[in-house]
């Protein structure tokens, strides 16, 4: 461990951390945006879910590097390729949670909402989605953390992230770089996870004292 390497490379480390954060958070957010309508449809029309889940699971089985390769002809060696691939993966963990969250709303509650004169849209926005928040955010946490760690793989096609430190450290037989990269990926994941926990708490005050 060569501590002096760290202060000498501050700006590089910062830049890579920032890139990695972007590659972790954006795919999870896009995954959420796509999962919400799909999940809502799947929760309402049950037949829609099994085929969707099958497709999503098969996609999840594709190795990330293979997915990059498949996207390169269209999007090149860019951030976009990595973000699309990671979005697809995060979709795979977020979608099931959206569906489970929606299904977890007690039938008595949705029935009462309908009986009191909520139309389908208002019921969705004011009753079902708020109640599904804890489960959806649980999925989002897994999505963000896995995107942050998967983002490193993007380095293989030249998209910069903390993965640079792994590859460079390996090539130069310089373990300090690898350790720094590893710690930063973990710290980044933990910080994002804690932020999501805080968001969940803020959005679900009713769960505070149970």
């Amino acid at each position: 461990m060569m501590w002096s390497w760290i202060p000498g490379n501050w700006s590089l480390i910062w830049q890579l951390t920032w890139e990695n954060l972007k590659l972790g958070v954006l795919p999870a957010l896009y995954g959420l945006v796509i999962s919400l309508p799909l999940g809502i449809i799947a929760a309402r029309w049950r037949w829609f879910y099994p085929p969707t889940l099958t497709v999503v699971n098969i996609v999840y089985a594709i190795p990330s590097i293979a997915l990059f390769v498949a996207l390169i002809p269209k999007f090149g060696l860019t951030d976009t390729t990595v973000i699309i691939a990671l979005t697809v993966f995060s979709l795979c963990v977020i979608l099931p949670n959206v569906v489970e969250g929606m299904r977890g709303v007690p039938a008595a509650v949705t029935q009462a909402a309908t009986a009191m004169g909520y139309g389908p849209l208002r019921r969705l926005a004011l009753v079902e989605l708020p109640l599904a928040i804890p489960v959806i955010i649980a999925g989002l946490r897994v999505g963000v953390v896995s995107s942050i760690s998967l983002a490193s793989v993007g380095q293989l096609i030249g998209v910069s992230s903390l993965g640079y430190l792994f590859i460079d450290g390996l090539q130069r037989s310089f373990p300090t770089e690898i350790y720094v990269g590893l710690v930063l990926v973990i710290v980044l994941a933990i910080i994002c996870d804690l932020i999501l926990v805080a968001v969940r708490r803020a959005l679900t005050p009713w769960l505070a004292r149970s």
Binding site: Q111, A112, A115, M116, G117, T204
Partner: protein, 347 residues
């Protein structure tokens, strides 16, 4: 109006047709003379209160916001809706302090009251209640039923209540619709008629073997003949009590006239004749009945529980008016049968 019947008889389905949660395959449902299918379902439902067994309270809203749901939906300001919510909390017998809590912080009985308050919030003329009291323990259930009756006496809504409990149907219903399995109507009648004249064996069986006694709940004690022979104040002497020739003496308070207890004449005989009754040992009363307002069922129960086998009738202030023996109760029951008295002490 109470819909009662076994599981799967269609009582809940019938109820849900009224607010269009279920659409009828044929026939017409009129509400205030108009076909409900002519109206937008969401609009229709905002004018019909709805209470269900599992309460269906919104876990993510405070008690006051739960109650304010329909007013807010219909465009009231949040402030006005919350004020109304607090009014309703009081109306259903809950403390205002609960307004800011979430449903899961309340007991089952309190949640059910909030459910009723929420249904009443927009002051709908019609209230639908689907097994509203089935999920709470018997003591809470009885108090919720009593509260429903007193609310109804005040608000005069059209309430349709579904239950599988015939006791509940008879207690709270003005009119009871008893269903057979598979959705046919067995009898539609006021509860006292259901008990007195069941349409067939199915109804008689469903109503239960003790329907004769339960029917007495609907017969007033106003016509009951009371005896005053065994009633003596505590300052009377034992000699005077024995002279009454009664097997049991009811000792009353000399000033207030309230009952103190029963004394066994056989035991009084062992005491000196100039002792006062107040010094003699007395057995507890069991309970009394209020003449005029309590039912014959209460009077009969008082007689069964009394050591003397006699029911003590009191007035509104608790003063003893007299006692009724089993024989006198039997005469009153037969007279009620003869008069086919359908007016009971119902609220």
């Amino acid at each position: 109006m109470v819909l009662v019947g076994p599981s799967g008889c269609g009582k809940t389905t019938s109820l849900r047709m009224i607010n269009r949660l279920v659409e009828p395959t044929e026939g017409t449902i009129l509400l205030g003379g108009a076909d409900i299918r002519a109206r937008n379902p969401a609009q229709l439902r905002r004018g019909i209160g709805y209470v269900i067994q599992q309460t269906g309270l919104f876990p993510h809203r405070t008690v006051e916001d739960n109650i304010a749901t329909v007013p807010v939906l219909t465009g009231w300001s949040r402030k006005k809706a919350r004020d109304r919510a607090r009014e309703l909390l009081t109306l259903v017998g809950l403390d205002q302090d609960l307004a800011r809590r979430y449903p899961h912080q309340l007991s089952g009985g309190q949640q059910q009251r909030v459910g009723v308050a929420r249904a009443l919030a927009a002051d709908p003329p019609v209230l639908l209640m689907d097994e509203p009291f089935s999920a709470v323990d018997p003591v809470v259930r009885a108090s919720l039923q009593d509260q429903l009756l007193s609310l109804q006496a005040e608000l005069r809504k059209t309430i349709v209540l579904v239950t599988h409990d015939i006791e509940e149907a008879i207690k709270v219903g003005d009119l009871v619709a008893l269903f057979r399995p598979h959705g046919t109507l067995a009898q539609l009648a006021p509860p006292e008629e259901l008990l007195a004249a069941p349409a067939d064996d199915y109804v008689a069986g469903f109503v239960g073997f003790d329907r004769g006694i339960r029917r007495l709940s609907f017969v007033r004690t106003a016509g009951l003949v009371l005896g005053t022979g065994p009633v003596l104040p505590a300052d009377a002497t034992v000699a005077k009590a024995l002279a009454a020739g009664e097997p049991w003496i009811l000792i009353t308070d000399p000033q207030a006239g309230t009952p103190r207890g029963w004394a066994d004449a056989a035991r009084l005989g062992a005491l000196p004749g100039d002792t006062t009754l107040g010094q003699a040992a007395a057995e507890p009363l069991g309970h009394t009945f209020t003449v005029g307002t309590d039912s014959l069922r209460a009077a009969l129960d008082a007689a069964v529980l009394s050591p003397a086998g006699q029911a003590v009738g009191v007035d509104g202030d608790g003063r003893v008016l007299g006692v009724a023996t089993f024989d006198q109760l039997r005469v009153a029951i037969q007279a009620a049968d003869a008069a086919d008295d359908r007016e009971g002490p119902r609220s």
